[in-house]
Symmetry: C2
């Protein structure tokens, strides 16, 4: 069991309740990373489902929970032959922090019927760059769990050279060796710095809603995250991430809407 | 009040319940159009919200409801200063047909800080084409409510010439003159024939999950719908629609995951 597996463990209390413990090793400057929280929720959903894979997850982020004990409460909405649908709520002290709707199904391993090509060419990992080590007081504990190598222009904002449009691209794997699985993908779709940093924005950019689809089980090795956005307007921005596995296959797609930081 | 306004009317029974009547004029070969059903749900959500606009809507389609009386049941999850979050369930005979999570907020009319260019060049409306009149027995009653003019290659599948990739693009407006509003946009994001028809697929392609974001209030006039997909695999496909108003501004973004038809 890896540290990530442990940090996302969900212990069944009864048919509708799971106990979890939110790990302070997934902090992004105070709040816990949203993808990490979704991975925790999905552990419970998948455990309780007749199907193996979380194909669709939509989540509203109501509040930021603290590290420590929490619960996942499940409501089974439909249990079909092809897919099951579940409502899942992350609770702390009986208060809802995340509301999610999850569709589980069982994916096969057939080759795709049709696939779009990669969104953009990525330089090879040896020409990509990690983020600088965060200052201990920044509380960016998430960084230590991940190995990410960025397409250099998309972290130009670090040195005052943003590209001028919302984008972020990186190779991704867990720092502790672990083959990617659907729970790692939940973490991956929300692991990039906000794409708006490349457009010159700064500050805490809270996710309001995030939906991601699991499209295939990833092959072992690096994942590649292609992050982009279409519109920054009125204090809101969208962020899309396409995740490909080491064979180049699309394994996950996400889109979130978030608030612009106040800098 | 237009026919669409009437067909989506939600009458408040009490704080958590609205009565609606699902109109058989929005059929797509038997089932009712998913975007129409979301417009009905959103009428209730917005009526009960302190905010004016449905910024984010995620919906799971559990079952296909029949035309006739139904209810929308609301649960207020959070009422914040910037945004409110609501769970909404479409019920018929006390059974859930759609589960949705909706974030409402109040959008302004400032110019975007940054926007992507149009996904593709569209020919002008006079070089685009409507779908042929549906056969009465097909129960495609939705078509009569809409005026849609398609980029010709993206309806080549009608004459045995699919483009070979998932795509569909059209100008869109209500047949009965009506300025587009957020409820019309809910209809618009699910109004294109499934994008996989252009990739050679056929048959009823049921939406499993659809999330759409309202990004701005649309200007009067035609909307343009740019539909595409990234992956067709294992019986599942994604469909994305970017909606622009008559000024070219991005007003809505949707993505859905659906099952491939067996047809």
């Amino acid at each position: 069991m890896t540290k990530f597996d442990e940090a996302t463990r969900a212990l069944r209390v009864d048919e509708t309740t799971y106990d979890v413990c939110l790990d302070d090793g997934y902090g992004i400057g105070g709040p816990l990373n949203g993808g990490y929280l979704l991975a925790v929720v999905l552990r419970a959903v998948v455990d309780a489902s007749p199907h193996a894979h979380p194909v669709s997850t939509s989540a509203q982020f109501l509040r930021a929970p603290r590290p420590g004990p929490a619960q996942v409460r499940l409501e089974q909405l439909k249990a079909g032959r092809t897919a099951a649908m579940t409502r899942a709520t992350l609770l702390q002290d009986d208060r809802a922090y995340i509301e999610a709707l999850v569709t589980t199904a069982t994916l096969g391993d057939a080759a795709p019927d049709w696939s779009a090509g990669p969104p953009l060419a990525m330089p090879p990992p040896e020409r990509c760059r990690p983020l600088p080590e965060p200052k201990p007081e920044s509380n960016m504990t998430l960084n230590a769990q991940l190995e990410m190598l960025f397409d250099p222009p998309t972290i130009g904002w670090l040195t005052g050279e943003p590209t001028g449009r919302p984008e972020s691209r990186a190779y991704f794997r867990m720092a502790e060796p672990q083959d990617p699985d659907p729970f790692v993908l939940a973490l991956a779709v929300d692991a990039l710095p906000p794409v708006v940093f490349s457009a010159g924005a700064r500050g805490w950019a809270p996710t309001v809603e995030l939906t991601w689809y699991l499209r295939a089980l990833p092959a072992p090795g690096w994942l590649t995250l292609y992050g982009s956005g279409r519109l920054i307007s009125d204090g809101w921005f969208d962020e899309e991430v396409e995740v490909r596995d080491s064979t180049g296959r699309i394994v996950a797609q996400s889109r979130q809407i978030a608030r612009l930081g106040r800098g």
